[in-house]
């Protein structure tokens, strides 16, 4: 016997009036459908090495394409429907509003599913999420980019940014290390970066093959080669955890201030929105407070590298 006088009314939140609008990720204060992704078509797949490919995506809906803006260093959640989501850093130019490029290594089951995909397949992206490299603050200074292996993926956006605003920066150096010459990514762009962008590019490998003519050794060896003006240099470091440790302490020894050294950390985000805690570093979230941290935060936070 149900008495209507004592029945709780249904709250009208169940259907938000904005539920049919595309979410605006810049307008962060209102409740939004954070799990709605932008539908994307894979327009091109470029093999880079044995395990890495460059995926070019285009957001299908023109209105959503207009909404999607990001800054260098941010990441997005790439969804392969049926297989799941993976956090991927954006490697394309921020001024390229038509296509999004993602440099992806085949590592888990989401990326393995993606590697099966052919151009034309539809995937979904959410984002962009996270902090970015302070490119505006670096204006007028030297920029030193240090990448190891796949660490070039998040650095490609700052490289494009520098190319777009080359006169804002003084000397730009890019040091890139990998285990083998075959693992160097984007080698086809090296000449473009050197001659068009006037970036002083140095590559180094640990295990050379017979065709390798460049330097051999660890990435820190390259740091000894170049003259760095610590007063006016901004550093961006990205690579495997061990490389962070050596490269950052080396740069710290040269005298680059901690708040001018930036690293991009890698964790396995599940939500991207600071809820699931899977990407916690010490007491902060890699997805909200990172992935770009300055070196002070990195040594201040527990278990960061």
């Amino acid at each position: 016997m149900q008495d209507g006088r004592f029945t709780l009314p249904e709250q009208d939140l169940n259907r938000e009036p904005f539920a049919h609008r595309p979410p605006d990720f810049r307008q962060k204060s209102e409740v939004m459908i954070t799990d709605r992704g932008y539908k994307c078509r894979i327009t091109n797949i470029v093999p880079l090495s044995v395990h890495e490919r460059l995926f070019q995506l285009r957001i299908v809906d023109p209105a959503e394409r207009e909404l999607f803006r990001f800054r260098p260093g941010q990441f997005l959640m790439l969804e392969v429907p049926g297989y799941g989501e993976a956090p991927i850093s954006i490697s394309s130019s921020t001024s390229n509003r038509e296509f999004i490029e993602l440099c992806i290594r085949q590592a888990g089951h989401v990326t393995s599913a993606l590697f099966e995909a052919q151009p034309g397949a539809l995937v979904s992206i959410r984002g962009p999420f996270g902090t970015s490299f302070p490119m505006e603050s670096m204006q007028g200074g030297d920029v030193l980019l240090v990448a190891g292996g796949l660490g070039i993926a998040p650095l490609r956006a700052p490289l494009y940014w520098i190319n777009d605003h080359r006169d804002h920066y003084r000397d730009v150096r890019f040091l890139y290390g990998a285990k083998q010459p075959s693992e160097l990514l984007f080698t086809y762009q090296f000449d473009e970066w050197k001659t068009v962008s006037h970036i002083d590019l140095h590559a180094i490998v640990e295990r050379p093959d017979e065709n390798w003519k460049g330097r051999t050794g660890m990435i820190t060896a390259l740091l000894d080669d170049i003259a760095i003006d610590p007063e006016n240099t901004w550093a961006i470091v990205c690579g495997p955890p061990l490389m962070f440790k050596f490269a950052c302490s080396h740069l710290d020894g040269i005298g680059i201030p901690m708040n001018r050294m930036f690293v991009s950390l890698e964790r396995r985000m599940h939500c991207g929105m600071g809820k699931c805690c899977r990407c916690m570093v010490g007491s902060t979230f890699t997805c909200l407070d990172g992935p770009v941290f300055d070196y002070w935060s990195v040594i201040n936070l527990k278990e960061a590298i």
Binding site: M1, Q2, D3, G4, R5, F6, T7, L8, P9, E10, Q11, L13, N14, E16, K28, S29, V31, M32, I33, T34, D35, R36, G37, K39, E79, P81, G82, Y83, G84, E85, A86, R105, A107, G108, T111, A121, L122, S124, P241, E266, R267, R268, H270, C271, M273, G274, K275, C276, C277, R278, M280, G282, S283, T284, F285, L288, D289, K302, E303
Partner: protein, 360 residues
């Protein structure tokens, strides 16, 4: 807040009426443990007779009503042309929860901070929270409760109605218009000075009944400087990595996002599943690198999260002191012992020279 007093028989009639009219959950005795002590659980109730009004504490917290163990976030339906559509629903039917303890309600308030503040509030949580009617009840603490140490033995918001037992009647704190409207149909009286005295006596009694106390002041600092302490190794060796503590905890909210194909392969659903930071693969990244490879690292992380707090909720401690994790732990790890161990380590530490009394 409006305060009223209701007699116990009238209160039972009120509970019976709202329980019958709604999708209601309340504490029920479901089994006995090996010592013959009753085991209580929040279960669907159809009338007031089924509710254990004098229950002690439930093994599972009320978290399950706000953060279900498994919840669909979105659904993808595939069509013939390799195209797909994403569907998102966040609906929650109106639910009535009866008999939450102050610590449980505090836990919900903490979850509010975590899930609803910040740049990306969770609509799934908000739908459930807005559609849940909470009736709280105070109780005398169990011997191992330490919510007074966490300052969570009283609660001032986050409920619709809170009742304190003052002998032959209940002292009601009415915190919502809905609750007030329901109560209009029943015989209430304004609290007399005697009722107020009885309430204060009751509060005092509860406060004095705590047998377990943990000193938590300054704990964030200790946790920071003891980050490499051998204590974590010691307790980590006992830990079985089963994740039970996180499942029963009223504030553990970490989750993983998973995706599965539907059985007919015509769609797939993305859902979240509550996870525990004690599980081995919690901090594992692609390629197999684990940022917290040892038991001690993971145990430490849970304590770090609970007693130091994270930036998401202004670094406030999220433990409410219900000791459900301590009771449920198969290896006998409980927060009291771990924290006392940690404090002991720090307070008995000696340096070669005694500290200088000179404060200049």
């Amino acid at each position: 807040m409006i305060y009223k007093v209701i007699s116990k028989s009238e209160f039972t009639a009120f509970i019976d009426a709202i329980v019958k009219a709604n999708n209601a959950y309340g504490p029920r005795r479901v089994d006995s443990d090996r010592n013959g002590e009753p085991i209580y659980k929040f279960m669907p109730v159809a009338s007031a007779d089924e509710i254990a009004f004098d229950y002690t504490a439930t093994h599972f917290s009320a978290k399950q009503f706000f953060l279900p163990f498994r919840e669909e976030l979105s659904h993808f339906s595939f069509d013939e042309q390799d195209n797909w559509e994403q569907h998102i629903r966040y609906e929650a039917p109106p639910t009535l929860l009866f008999g939450l303890r102050p610590c449980d309600i505090s836990a919900v308030n903490i979850l509010d901070d975590v899930m609803l503040r910040g740049p990306y509030p969770s609509p799934y949580y908000l739908a459930r929270r807005r559609n849940t009617f909470i009736i709280g009840m105070d109780h005398l603490p169990l011997p191992d409760c330490f919510c007074k140490s966490m300052n969570r033995h009283t609660v001032s918001h986050g409920f619709n109605l809170f009742c304190s037992d003052i002998g032959d009647s209940y002292y009601l704190s009415i915190n919502s218009s809905k609750a007030f409207t329901f109560l209009k149909e029943f015989e209430l009286r304004n609290p007399t000075p005697e009722d107020d005295c009885l309430l204060i006596e009751r509060r005092k009694l509860i406060k004095q009944s705590f047998l377990t106390n943990i000193e938590v002041t300054g704990l964030p600092l200790f946790l920071d400087i003891e980050f490499d302490s051998p204590i974590w190794e010691k307790w980590g060796d006992k830990c079985l990595n089963c994740g039970t503590c996180a499942m029963v905890c009223p504030t553990c909210y970490c989750y993983s996002v998973e995706e599965n194909f539907d059985i007919d392969l015509k769609g797939s659903s993305r859902h979240n599943r509550l996870y525990s930071c004690n599980l081995v693969d919690f901090a594992e990244v692609a390629g197999g690198h684990n940022f917290r490879p040892r038991n001690g690292d993971r145990l430490k992380y849970r304590y770090y999260h609970h007693y130091r707090g994270f930036s998401a909720n202004d670094n406030q401690q999220i433990c409410v002191g219900c000791n459900r994790c301590g009771r449920a732990c198969l290896a006998g790890i409980n927060p009291k012992d771990v924290i006392n161990d940690l404090r002991l380590e720090r307070e008995t530490c000696k340096t070669g020279d005694s500290p200088s009394p000179n404060r200049t």
